[in-house]
Each structure stands twice: as structure tokens, then as C-alpha cells.
């Protein structure tokens, strides 16, 4: 009984990590409709920078902040220099961001080598919690809470604040939004920076969870893409639900049929998409 509880909570914790990665993607891909395959690379930038600073003795939260800010700035540079030229053209966006991801991944490989590294667990969250007979790592439990909290905050920001309204207006009808005085390019720039910053935050926390290697950027990217699409593009709640489902399917798949682990995950996602292309909670058809 307790093993099943552990498996379930593990699945939820992994799903939370996926949501942390996917939250940035829901904004840039789901909302802005900009396909960013370099999302995993910004995850790596955050994780590696925080690892570097934290092992050099910088305060943990400062290191985390540095990683997030660096990735946000990097993302805004990519958006301003390249991506905004390709607005609405997904295929070139894919090729371009994949190129960016290759460059970042290769430079990380050159500087840090291919061995996995792990940023430290946030201070105060080390060790297990014990509830009755049940023992579980505290960090993973907190991660679930952070994921739910983040979903609520991002959702509320988009829904209830003037800034969120501007973002939604800029996405829904760029020309009208410009006409009423919203600075759409600036909005897109900042939104993209937020997205890559969130990726970096996920990198710092996710790195402490699963450790980082130059190729792990693409692993989380693929899963996060799935989460965003299964949840329905642009739907924060959908992404959270999808992240939990994917986390649980992944966990139980590994426990029950280890030889079919990745197959069960991707095949069920493919089956869902084949039948319901707009995902679980997606309504708007993607152009």
C-alpha cells in the first residue's frame, strides 16, 4: 500500500517537474504560438549557471536568480535578433530554435563535459519527511506544491491583471492590439523572456531532482512539448493536468512494464492526439 503511495507521489512530483518546464512553453508556444525547441537549452543554461555559482559558494537563492535572469536575457536576445522575423512561420521557427539549442548544448558540453551535474537541493528542503510509516523526500513534495502554486499564479496573472489582458490581446489580434496602443513587439519580447526564465527555474529545480547533462535539455523538452499539446495549447490548467497524467503514466509504466516504458507513454499520447488533435482542454484550432 505504501509503495503505491510512493509511486503515485513520485509520479506527481515528476509531473510537477514537467509542469515547471512546460509552464514556460505554455506561454511561448501555447499562447504566443512561437515554437521554441531551444526551451530545453534555456533549462540547461539556468541549471548549469546555478550549479556553477552555488558550488563556488554563492548564496543558493542568488544563484537561482542569476540563472533565471541570464536565461531570460538570453531568450529575449534570441527573440529580438531572430525569432520575431519568423512570426507565424512555424517551420523556420523550429529549424532556427533547434539550431540555437545545438549551439547552447554544444558549448555547455565544451565547458562542462558530458558528465551529469546536479545543482544543490534548495536549502531547508533537504532530507525526508515522515508521516506515520511513510517516508518521502521533502523536496519532491514541495515541488508538487510549487507546481500547483505556479499554475495558479500564472493563470491569475494572465486572467486578472492588465498586463495579462494586454498579452492576451496581443496574441488574439495583433493589429487591433497595436491600434489601441499596446506595444506588441515589447509585449512579445517580455513574454518570451518570462518563458525562458521559467525554463531556467525549472532547470535549477529539475536539475536537483534528476541531475543535468547536455542532452537532458532535449529529453525534458520533448516531454514538456507533449504536456503542452496534450493539455491543449495555451491552457495552463490543461498543462498542469497533462503534466500530472504524463508523470503518473511514466512512473507506473516503468514499474509495471519496464520493457515498454517509453512506448506506453508516447503511444498513448499519439493515440490521444490522433483522435483529439487539440488536446484535452484545447478549444481553439491552431490556424
Amino acid at each position: 500500500m505504501l509503495t503505491w503511495l510512493t509511486h503515485s507521489v513520485n509520479g506527481l512530483a515528476y509531473g510537477s517537474l514537467l509542469f515547471l518546464v512546460a509552464s514556460g512553453l505554455t506561454i511561448t508556444f501555447g499562447l504566443m504560438r512561437t515554437v521554441n525547441l531551444a526551451h530545453g537549452a534555456f533549462y540547461l543554461i539556468g541549471g548549469y549557471l546555478a550549479y556553477d555559482l552555488a558550488t563556488d559558494g554563492t548564496d543558493y537563492w542568488l544563484a537561482l536568480l542569476a540563472g533565471v535572469v541570464a536565461a531570460a536575457i538570453g531568450g529575449m536576445i534570441v527573440e529580438r535578433a531572430f525569432l520575431h522575423r519568423l512570426a507565424g512561420r512555424e517551420l523556420p521557427q523550429i529549424v532556427l530554435t533547434l539550431g540555437v539549442a545545438y549551439i547552447i548544448g554544444d558549448q555547455i558540453l565544451a565547458n562542462y563535459g558530458g558528465d551529469p551535474v546536479a545543482p544543490p537541493t534548495p536549502p531547508g528542503l533537504e532530507g525526508p519527511v515522515t508521516i506515520g510509516d511513510w517516508i518521502f523526500p521533502k523536496f519532491r513534495l514541495v515541488m508538487i506544491g510549487v507546481a500547483i502554486g505556479l499554475a495558479l499564479v500564472v493563470g491569475a496573472l494572465l486572467k486578472y491583471t492588465p498586463t495579462g489582458a494586454k498579452v492576451r490581446a496581443a496574441v488574439d489580434d495583433e493589429e487591433i492590439a497595436r491600434a489601441v496602443g499596446i506595444r506588441v513587439p515589447l509585449v512579445f519580447l517580455l513574454v518570451f523572456g518570462c518563458g525562458t526564465g521559467l525554463a531556467a527555474f525549472a532547470g535549477v529545480w529539475g536539475g536537483a531532482f534528476t541531475s543535468l547533462a547536455p542532452e537532458s535539455g532535449f529529453e525534458v523538452l520533448l516531454l514538456a512539448l507533449i504536456v503542452v499539446v496534450v493539455g491543449g495549447l495555451g491552457s495552463i490548467g490543461g498543462a498542469l493536468t497533462a503534466a500530472f497524467i504524463v508523470g503518473l503514466v511514466d512512473q507506473y509504466g516503468k514499474v509495471w512494464f519496464p520493457e515498454w516504458a517509453l512506448f506506453t507513454l508516447y503511444a498513448s499520447v499519439a493515440a490521444l492526439l490522433a483522435v483529439r488533435p487539440s488536446g484535452l482542454f484545447g478549444k481553439a484550432v491552431f490556424r
Binding site: 512561420r89 517551420l91 523550429i94 532556427l96 565544451a110 499539446v229 520493457e259 499519439a270
Partner: protein, 341 residues
């Protein structure tokens, strides 16, 4: 030679010279460059097969590594377990690749654009997951090493001979793909790309045409995978990696997806660049990233598209300043938009 214009004669001469150059290539270079040329041919075939779905079918697939890998694993498993000769391996690989591609096509009937891209990616990842975890069959992450070429006739087993074998296989496959593309069937697939609604209103079964495009493409992609594994002598999950799907997509865009030989050219260019750059630096992936960025920004219609545009503009300039300037290239490779319901 009456009836042939000078332009045709030049084209014929250039074609003959190209064929002669390809056949005689092993005599002109050393064994390393013959190996590189073999790889270029096989990746070129893969890219040409991919374009049956992408450029001509208008469906941007990100899952073709699956068919390529299925071809590869057919060799690996067939040869190391049952000592299959190539004449058994090849048909089996073609059937498996075509069958998998047909499944992809059926699953993708309801999706377009970015959703098709992600769905093919998920399907290919599911198959790659099998290659990774069915270790008893595939050797898991290590793959299947030391696959012997002993089943091949001794004349084409090594080096130059294998190059000629590959050249023959690639020539036959590319010719078949050309014939398919020019046939009424291939033309109606292009029709689906141009306007699915009109095609279906005229009575074509557009869904079936899309599945056929996938099937043809998957079969030939599997052939490329088979030959590549015979060349390398091993197969692993790297043959199924989704970055291979991305690479073949970039081959097609870079060369020019609206031209039959564009993807082939893209494959040759990137492979050649890799060999050349690798003599100077270990950071090939960084250079490849720069190539991707440049392709996305400046070569959306490919090298051949750009070249055609330059030729048209030169003609217009020669026609005199009064002539209208050439229009900007129109055949940009865009992700096909969703057809109106």
C-alpha cells in the same frame, strides 16, 4: 542530333558528365572520401524519400527517423540472429518501413501543420522507446555491433565495391521515386498539398493519398536505413534519434523542398560540410546550429529556390531596365495551413 536544342544538349552533356563522375569517383579519391561519398548518397536517398511526404505531400513530418531506424534494425536483427542475406533483409525492411509509415499516415489523417509535426514525433518516439527498452532484441542503448557484410557478393562487399552497390541502389530508388512523383498518383498527392478541399470535391480520396505518400516515403527511407547500417556495420538507438528526423527536415529545406533533387543536394551539402569542418574543430554541433539558423533566416526556399530566383533576375536584367523586376521567390516552404473544413 536534329530536334535537340543547344540547351538540351548542354543539359544532356552535363548529366552524362555527372554520371561518369559518380561512377568513376572511387578512382579519383582515396578510401576515406569514397566512404564519405557513400554516406552522402545514402543520406541523399533518405532526404529524397522524406520529401515525398514533406515537399510534395505538404506534410511536415518529424518522425522519419522511425522508418530509417526500422530499416537499420531489420539488418541488425536479421543478419546477427538468422544470417539473412541482403535479398531477404531488403524486402523485409521495405515492408516493415512501409507498414509503419502507413500507420503514421492513418494516425495523422485528422491533423495538420504543427499538430502533424508533433504527432509524428510522438509516434517515432514510441518506436524509439521500443528500440531502447526491448534490449533482448535490440541491445538497448548499446545497439547491435559488428554486423557483417558477408551476405553480400564479394565484389561489392568492401570500399569501392560497396560504393558502387550503394550508387546502384540509390540510383534505382531515386529513379523509382521520380517516376512515382511524375505519375498520376504522385501528381494527385501534390494536388492534395495545393488544395485538399478542391481535390476532395473533385472526387479524390485525399486521406488515402496522404497515407500513400507516407507509405512510399517510409519504404524508401527504410532502404536508406538498411544501406547505412551495412555501411557502418552497427545499429543503435542513434539511428532512431529524433534529431535524425530534424536533420532530414533541414536537408530538405536547405536544398529546396519544392525541387525533386533539392533534398539530395541539402544532404550532400551538410554531410560535406561536416567532414570539412571536422578537420578543423571538434565543435561540429555549434557549426551545425549556425547552419540551421542561417537556413531558417535566409534559405526558407532552399539553395535551389534561391538559385532559380537569381537566374530569373539575371534574365530580367538582361532584358533591359524597362522589364519588370523579378518577383520575390514565391515557393517558400511553409508549414501547410489547415484546410478549411
Amino acid at each position: 542530333m536534329r530536334g535537340l536544342s543547344t540547351g538540351r544538349l548542354t543539359a544532356l552533356a552535363a548529366g552524362l558528365a555527372a554520371v561518369a563522375g559518380l561512377v568513376l569517383l572511387p578512382f579519383l579519391t582515396d578510401s576515406f572520401y569514397t566512404f564519405v561519398a557513400t554516406r552522402m548518397l545514402l543520406l541523399g536517398l533518405f532526404a529524397t524519400a522524406y520529401n515525398a511526404v514533406f515537399g510534395f505531400g505538404g506534410m511536415a513530418s518529424l518522425g522519419h527517423a522511425a522508418f530509417y531506424g526500422i530499416g537499420g534494425y531489420s539488418v541488425g536483427i536479421g543478419v546477427t540472429r538468422w544470417d539473412w542475406p541482403p535479398l531477404v533483409v531488403l524486402p523485409v525492411a521495405i515492408v516493415l518501413g512501409a507498414a509503419a509509415a502507413a500507420v503514421f499516415g492513418i494516425m495523422c489523417l485528422r491533423v495538420r501543420g504543427i499538430y502533424l509535426l508533433l504527432l509524428t514525433l510522438a509516434l517515432a518516439q514510441a518506436i524509439a522507446g521500443l528500440a531502447f527498452y526491448q534490449t533482448e532484441w535490440t541491445g538497448g542503448d548499446n545497439g547491435i555491433p559488428s554486423i557483417s557484410r558477408d551476405g553480400l557478393p564479394s565484389a561489392v562487399r568492401e570500399g569501392d565495391g560497396f560504393y558502387w552497390l550503394s550508387l546502384g541502389v540509390v540510383a534505382v530508388c531515386v529513379a523509382l521515386l521520380w517516376m512515382y512523383q511524375r505519375s498520376p498518383l504522385g501528381m494527385s498527392v501534390v494536388g492534395v498539398r495545393e488544395s485538399e478541399a478542391r481535390m476532395s470535391a473533385t472526387g479524390y480520396r485525399t486521406g488515402r493519398l496522404r497515407i500513400i505518400a507516407f507509405t512510399v516515403s517510409g519504404a524508401f527511407a527504410a532502404v536508406a536505413g538498411v544501406m547505412e547500417v551495412y555501411l557502418q556495420g552497427s545499429v543503435s538507438t542513434a539511428n532512431m534519434h529524433w534529431q535524425i528526423s530534424a536533420e532530414v527536415l533541414v536537408f530538405a529545406i536547405l536544398g529546396g523542398a519544392r525541387h525533386f533533387l533539392g533534398p539530395f543536394l541539402g544532404a550532400v551539402m551538410v554531410t560535406g560540410l561536416e567532414v570539412w569542418v571536422s578537420t578543423y574543430t571538434d565543435r561540429w554541433m555549434t557549426v551545425l546550429g549556425i547552419v540551421y539558423i542561417a537556413t531558417a533566416l535566409f534559405l526558407a526556399d532552399g539553395v535551389l529556390g534561391r538559385a532559380g530566383w537569381a537566374v530569373r533576375r539575371a534574365k530580367d536584367l538582361r532584358a533591359g531596365p524597362a522589364a519588370a523586376p523579378a518577383a520575390a521567390p514565391k515557393d517558400r516552404t511553409e508549414l501547410p495551413a489547415e484546410a478549411p473544413a
